[in-house]
């Protein structure tokens, strides 16, 4: 039986689809029988859905326009002096 520690150590690889077929098989088999690891796996995936969703992290409206206006002003003033 593979230890939980080993499964957790390869979890990112597995989530990213970079684990070898053998490793995938080992991990999937373990996840079916281990509630703890399976909970970590599920929540990690869920978290990545949330953090990776652009809607969760919209920049404030007008942010880009304000930034470029600021730079225009600052850079032009700089060139004047």
């Amino acid at each position: 039986m593979v230890r939980c520690k080993t499964i957790i150590a390869h979890l990112s690889e597995y989530v990213d689809g970079e684990a070898s077929p053998e490793l995938c098989h080992t991990i999937e088999q373990h996840l079916r029988g281990c509630h703890r690891c399976s909970a970590v796996y599920d929540s990690t995936r869920k978290m990545l859905v949330i953090t990776g969703d652009e809607r969760v992290f919209e920049v404030p409206s007008g942010y880009s326009a304000r930034l470029h206006r600021f730079l225009d002003k600052a850079i032009l003033e700089g060139s004047a002096s």
Partner: protein, 221 residues
């Protein structure tokens, strides 16, 4: 990297050259691909939108003023994001001094991130998707992100929020691919752990909020 991003990237040394030659208006084009990332980095440090905007503005100005000093023009992204990160931290220090706050908060956070083995095993399977759009969730993620040491926060932002691939992230951070993978793995475990109480513990409150957004539930009442 997709074609568009690749084209933008390969254009950077050219843009930098033009800006150095006095065509300042190209600076807008140069920084445009990095605006969101810069904001995320600053916001994860400062946790306040106005402060983050200020910090990004100051950082971008510094980037412009010091563009001359950038030796490797193909490393612009890595250098620029480092400037943003430093500016945000400086801003935070200034703000802390101003508010007479102690550094205890900071130390406490550092301590929390020492362990990265999962301790919270609660299940999030019943987390409704509507939660995604909650302000509270956004705040929780920022909080969790800010609790991560810099090396983990930056990889998490680049990879799991900005969706860069491993190779791109390695390039920006100036570290090896295996190092990116190791840090990313730890960053994810730390983030998950930091977010666990928010999602797992207050089941009732999530249920309450769910009632508010689920028409089926509302109809049954």
């Amino acid at each position: 990297m997709n074609d568009q991003a690749l084209m933008e990237k390969s254009r950077e040394p050219f843009l930098i050259q033009r800006i150095r030659a006095g065509e300042r208006s190209h600076f807008h084009e140069l920084i445009r691909p990095y605006e969101r990332r810069a904001f995320l980095i600053a916001y994860s440090v400062l946790r306040n939108q106005d402060d983050a905007e200020d910090a990004v503005q100051q950082a971008m100005l510094k980037i412009f003023l010091h563009l001359e000093q950038l030796a490797e023009t193909d490393k612009f992204a890595q250098w620029a994001m480092r400037v943003v990160e430093n500016e945000a931290k400086m801003y935070k220090r200034k703000r802390h001094q101003h508010l007479y706050q102690s550094v205890d908060e900071e130390q406490e956070k550092e301590g929390q991130t020492k362990h990265f083995h999962p301790k919270q095993f609660a299940d999030w399977r019943d987390l409704p998707n509507e939660i995604l759009e909650q302000q509270e969730v956004r705040a929780a993620i920022i909080e969790a992100l800010a609790s991560l040491p810099e090396i983990y926060r930056e990889i998490f932002v680049l990879r799991d929020m900005e969706h860069l691939n491993i190779a791109e992230a390695a390039e920006i951070l100036g570290i090896s691919v295996p190092m990116v993978k190791t840090r990313l793995h730890r960053a994810r475990l730390m983030m998950r752990e930091a977010l666990s109480p928010i999602f797992a513990k207050p089941k009732v409150s999530i249920w309450e909020r769910w009632k508010g957004v689920n028409p089926w539930f509302a109809a049954k009442r």
